[in-house]
């Protein structure tokens, strides 16, 4: 009988106690499953944070500016001022009669002949009692940018005529209430006038000491300068409320940039959430890059330890 046969014939048998001990093993949760769970929770938290950020940052759509040519668009009265007028198709403006308001409109038009359209636009402004504040024409890009000033009562007519020059690509119209600014400036002017009158009355006193007279004269000069500035500012405010600013961008079919699509609430939420996720990913990537040298050192240490362990294993078995 060979050695192998003897060894096989007397193979050790596991005792029943060991068999029972092994079968008593209870299932345990796998570490890998825990890791997956943690990762899943982290991912869900990241996505939830992004969605919340998207919801918070998207907010309601701004309504101060009317964009595009809706058949009949009305600005909500409470948006910028209690007296903001309605804006209807064709850029018609029901101008408020009692309040001073600043009208700003911008048009983007596609025209066939840019130089001709530029000339006609300036003529439209002049015909309505306005003027061209600035004209920029580029022959290379076949486009022109004009800033026209027209009297507020004629805004409707001006926009209607200007839009007839070509095809509308986009249109914005905003109305800002100037009444508050005007009131503030008027109050300041009245206050300054009272101050000046008081100073002049004081200076007329012959018994006033010279030193104090000089001080009062300086204060009077400062008050007059401030009054002058306030008067100019008020004139500018009134002028801004009397003439509307219309910026017109003219271009050919290829030059004009198509109007930007304004996404809805859901679109903005998604856009914001995706942006936030991108930020999170960037942070994670940054952390990964920052930690990679440590990970490399750890991997090196681990491989050295493994090599040493294998060598020790060989030694211990000999």
């Amino acid at each position: 009988m060979s050695v192998e046969a003897v060894l096989r014939a007397h193979a050790p048998q596991a005792p029943e106690s060991l068999r029972a001990r092994v079968l008593e093993l209870e299932p345990r949760r796998m570490p890998s499953r825990r890791l997956v769970l943690v990762l899943a929770v982290a991912l869900v938290a990241a996505v939830a944070a992004a969605v919340v950020h998207g919801l918070v940052s998207s907010g309601p759509a701004p309504q101060q500016v009317v964009r595009g040519f809706a058949p009949h668009v009305e600005l909500a009265p409470s948006v910028k001022s209690p007296a903001v007028p309605s804006v209807s198709a064709g850029g018609s403006v029901g101008a408020a009669t009692t309040r001073l308001q600043q009208y700003e409109a911008s048009l983007e038009l596609r025209v066939k002949d840019v130089p001709n359209a530029t000339t006609r636009a300036t003529r439209i402004a002049a015909a309505l009692g306005g003027y061209a504040q600035s004209v920029q024409y580029s022959s290379s890009s076949k486009s022109a940018y004009l800033v026209l000033r027209v009297p507020v009562p004629d805004v409707k007519t001006a926009i209607a005529r200007l839009t007839a020059l070509g095809t509308i690509v986009s249109q914005n119209l905003s109305v800002t209430d100037l009444e508050h600014d005007l009131q503030v400036e008027s109050t300041q002017i009245a206050q300054l006038r009272r101050t000046i009158a008081a100073l002049e009355a004081a200076l007329r006193n012959p018994s006033l000491p010279d030193a104090q007279r000089v001080i009062l004269q300086i204060r009077l000069a400062n008050a007059k300068r401030a009054l002058n500035e306030r008067l100019n500012a008020r004139t500018g405010t009134i002028a801004a409320g009397q003439t509307a600013r219309i910026s017109v961008e003219l271009g050919t079919k290829h030059a004009v940039v198509p109007p930007a699509h304004r996404p809805g609430r859901l679109g903005r939420i998604v856009h914001s959430a995706v942006g936030f996720l991108g930020l999170e990913a960037a942070i994670a990537l940054y952390a990964l890059i920052a930690l990679s040298p440590l990970a490399l050192v750890a991997a090196l240490f681990w491989s050295l330890r493994e090599a040493r362990r294998r060598r020790d294993d060989r030694l211990v078995m000999e």
């Binding site: 299932p27 796998m30 078995m317 000999e318």
Partner: protein
């Protein structure tokens, strides 16, 4: 049908009555109970040969199956048989044991390895053969256990040992030669 079950049916292994309840207790690791039934003797024998200590082998076998149980879902039958997989785990467990034993001996300043092996190596083994088996190094006993006792093929045994097939064959022939000389 798992490999373990297939092999159990093929070999006509009749599991112990305690095993009938095992799959239910082990839940989705039901296949593991069949592997235990089939491979426990093999793993235990392998560890007895490797350590030369039956009580230590018992502990190490329990530890081996505990580790195997924890990683049972990761076991891939395409990469090797359950026996090879278990032997690989048992090998690592035994290595740790050898290392701790070495530390313990160093601590106790006792180098007489024979003192640790006081039990009978294997029941019924002829005295000279048992003595010859004792005189082999653990590495040599290990290769004998894998190739002879457990009947693993060359590639599987070398995979368990972490050495080349040539080294495995050389070690086996040297061990058998020494056994034959002294038996």
């Amino acid at each position: 049908m798992t490999i373990g079950r297939r092999r159990a049916v093929k070999k006509g292994v009749n599991a112990a009555s305690t095993l009938l309840d095992a799959p239910r207790r082990l839940g989705r690791n039901a296949g593991f109970a069949e592997v235990v039934a089939e491979e426990l003797d093999a793993v235990y024998g392998y560890l007895v040969y490797l350590t030369g200590d039956r009580s230590a082998a018992e502990d190490l076998a329990a530890e081996t199956f505990e580790k195997a149980f924890r990683t049972w879902r990761r076991f891939d039958p395409r990469r090797g048989s359950p026996r090879t997989w278990l032997c690989r785990i048992a090998h690592n467990v035994a290595i740790d044991w050898f290392r701790s034993e070495a530390r313990r001996r160093k601590r106790e300043d006792t180098y007489a390895q024979q003192q640790d092996i006081v039990d009978e190596f294997v029941d019924g083994l002829p005295g000279p053969l048992e003595q010859a088996l004792r005189e082999l190094s653990p590495a040599e006993r290990e290769v004998v256990a894998l190739r002879v006792l457990l009947d693993l093929d060359g590639p599987s045994a070398s995979r368990v040992l972490g050495i080349s097939q040539t080294a495995c064959s050389t070690r086996l022939s040297r061990a058998l030669k020494r056994l034959e000389e002294k038996a």
